[in-house]
């Protein structure tokens, strides 16, 4: 029987994992009383329902509901001193939980503290834009939309940022293969040659490690040279090296080039 390969996550996986392997966890600690993070948690908890708060590797991580993101970030900015949002993006948990995780990495410049606000949304649901609070989200949310297809409500200019406007698919989804999908392999062929020439040109090679020994145009055949563009296959491929090229080959084991052979 053919081995089952999951289709909802096509990213690289470890070829072997011990049966008894249990991954350890990064230590999570409770928020210390009367610390800066405690004040943040209290300020947020007073206004919205918190789903969790813990300190992980020196940074606070608070989990909220996606609809509260504007409220929470307003509290963080106005009453907790988080004047800067350094980063925001999403993590694809569709295969595991059927959800996206969106994180906002916040920075308090006065106390040099960092807080990560995390929320989850279902695919197809939109998240409210935080551009009114932090202008940096203009590009970051566009990138998130581009890479994950998460729609953002009330964004001033929501369109693809990194991929071309007419691209199909969202590259950072776990269902999107590393080498690109069917659409990706025809995209440039269609752009440059036109759809009508698909049969002649063929799909783009999107595997940089591909080696085709019968391709006489893109691969050199040292010692087995054939004319450029010659049709090659298993039958007409020469078994032995061509004589004339032997003189050009360097025997690295001999230490020095045998120049006599050339004359």
């Amino acid at each position: 029987m053919r081995k089952y390969t999951p289709k909802d996550n096509v990213q690289a996986k470890s070829y072997y994992t011990d049966r008894f392997w249990v991954a350890p966890r990064v230590p999570k600690t409770e928020v210390e009383k009367n610390s800066h993070f405690d004040k943040v948690v209290k300020a947020v908890d007073a206004k919205v329902k918190l789903q969790g708060a813990a300190v992980e590797l020196g940074q606070l991580r608070i989990v909220i509901e996606a609809k509260d993101n504007i409220k929470v970030l307003t509290i963080l900015r106005d009453s907790c001193g988080y004047k800067m949002c350094s980063e925001l993006s999403a993590v694809d948990y569709l295969a595991k939980d059927g959800e996206f995780e969106i994180f906002y990495q916040m920075l308090n410049l006065d106390e040099a503290k960092r807080t990560r606000v995390v929320c989850r949304i279902k695919p197809g649901e939109a998240i409210e834009s935080i551009v009114p609070l932090y202008k940096m989200a203009n590009f970051a949310e566009r990138e998130m939309f581009d890479m994950f297809g998460i729609p953002v409500n009330n964004h001033p200019h929501l369109k693809r940022l990194i991929m071309p406007d007419d691209w199909e698919g969202h590259p950072l989804l776990k269902t999107y293969p590393l080498q690109g999908d069917e659409f990706a392999s025809w995209y440039e062929v269609d752009k440059i040659f036109g759809k009508a020439h698909r049969d002649i040109v063929g799909p783009e090679n999107r595997n940089p490690a591909l080696i085709d020994r019968y391709d006489s145009q893109r691969f050199s055949r040292v010692g087995y040279e054939v004319p450029f563009g010659a049709e090659l296959n298993a039958e007409n491929e020469k078994a032995n090296p061509i004589e004339y090229s032997e003189t050009l080959l360097v025997n690295y084991n001999a230490g020095t080039k045998d120049l006599k052979k050339r004359t």
Partner: protein, 408 residues
């Protein structure tokens, strides 16, 4: 609305032709002063920019996607290709976040070497900034002087790791090599000469009438805007925001070193140029302090953590268990604990940090590179509005953006 097809392509300036309206100009994608591949769609009223729309993505290689398909050690050389002007700062930022995730203690000698490399990279990057920025603005001779000095710095990098641009000089858990013989002496010569060289550039530029006219009050960033748009590094410090991650959230040896963080309240391009010059002096000062520190360290370069880091070669060749662990680490890759980390570092361009989400597998579940240039490029849509077309070149050069890390 225009109907476009192959015979009648989209004509951007139809409105302009008809009613002397605003004109749409494509700045790039292949413009020498865009410092890479950026298409800036500018709407001009006369020479005044009324709207700017930066289009990026011409150098997109899917580095974040590749990170999800590579083991942690495999991915490290890929980080070279982010900010390719100062590769070690990317290598380091990535290594730091993985180390924080694992909880590794890096040996002191490796820390000294890393800090040295980071500061050399800062100098290389700032010299590159100065050279290209001056060239954009029209000061050709500065370009020649700055690139000459940058050559010496790159020679130092080459002597250490063999590469000039894509260094990969930092490993997760330490550094791969000890300093070669005579390297510290060459470094001492380099940093002794650097302040003089910086003085030469300043003599050429600081009081230069043309330079002042081109930079003074150009590209004004208010502190509020700088924070809101996510400006970091010199872009923020040029607006009087006192924040340098080396001081505020120290990593490596920065807490033990004595250096100043130059701040400018001018908020304009000229102020940021002055900061770049001052930061080079501070980097030289840091390197000066690091040289004697090196001699006081034990010759140990990689952290001892057999679960994550391969043992030294002698042990692998002599001890069976070390060989087995090395084999597993090479074939399967290390498995950091489950959890997430965001480790910010002060790269020459600003705050560079890697957010890594680990699910306990040898592959990062998600890696997000917080690149400073990405947000600086995003800010161009606001920063350029209301300036003249000629100043756009100055402003883009002054933001010091690198497309490797914008497009990723």
């Amino acid at each position: 609305m225009q109907v476009t097809n192959k015979l009648t392509p989209f004509f951007e300036n139809l409105n302009f032709d008809r009613s002397d309206n605003t004109m749409v100009v494509n700045f790039g994608p292949q413009h020498p002063s865009a410092h890479g591949q950026m298409r800036l769609i500018l709407e001009l009223d006369g020479e005044l920019i009324v709207k700017s729309d930066p289009n990026i993505g011409y150098l997109h290689r899917g580095i974040e996607k590749m990170a999800e398909n590579m083991t942690y050690n495999e991915f490290l050389p890929t980080t070279d290709r982010l900010d390719y002007i100062a590769s070690t700062s990317n290598n380091y930022a990535y290594a730091l976040s993985v180390e924080r995730l694992i909880g590794l203690e890096v040996p002191r000698r490796a820390q000294v070497i890393r800090t040295m490399l980071l500061e050399i990279n800062r100098i290389i990057s700032h010299l590159f900034f100065l050279a290209t920025h001056a060239l954009d603005v029209g000061a050709m001779s500065v370009f020649l002087y700055a690139f000459r000095e940058r050559e010496y710095a790159m020679d130092l990098m080459e002597d250490y790791c063999g590469a000039r641009l894509t260094h990969s000089a930092v490993r997760i858990g330490g550094v791969p090599l000890d300093l070669p013989e005579g390297w510290l002496e060459s470094l001492a010569i380099f940093i002794a000469k650097l302040p003089e060289e910086v003085k030469t550039y300043e003599d050429l530029l600081t009081e230069n009438r043309i330079w002042k006219m081109r930079l003074d009050d150009i590209g004004v960033i208010t502190p509020e805007e700088a924070l809101s748009w996510g400006c970091t590094g010199i872009m923020a410090r040029g607006s009087g925001i006192k924040y340098d991650i080396r001081k505020e959230e120290p990593y490596e040896l920065y807490s033990e070193l004595d250096f100043d963080i130059p701040i400018s309240d001018r908020c304009d391009s000229y102020g940021r140029y002055v900061l770049h010059m001052e930061e080079m002096r501070q980097s030289a000062k840091i390197l000066e302090q690091l040289i004697p520190m090196y001699a006081q360290t034990e010759p140990k370069l990689m952290a001892h953590s057999p679960q994550y880091i391969s043992a030294p070669k002698e042990e692998i060749m002599t001890q069976n268990y070390a060989l087995m662990q090395h084999f597993v680490l090479v074939t399967q890759g290390m498995r950091p604990p489950v959890g997430e980390v965001y480790a910010p570092t002060e790269s020459p361009k600003g705050e560079l940090g890697f957010y890594i989400k680990s699910e306990g597998t040898p592959y990062a579940y998600r890696l997000k590179c917080r690149a400073p240039s990405f947000f600086h490029a995003g800010y161009l849509q606001k920063l350029l509005v209301g300036t003249y077309l000629a100043d756009a070149v100055t402003i883009i050069g002054n933001t010091n953006i690198v497309f490797g890390e914008i497009d990723r």
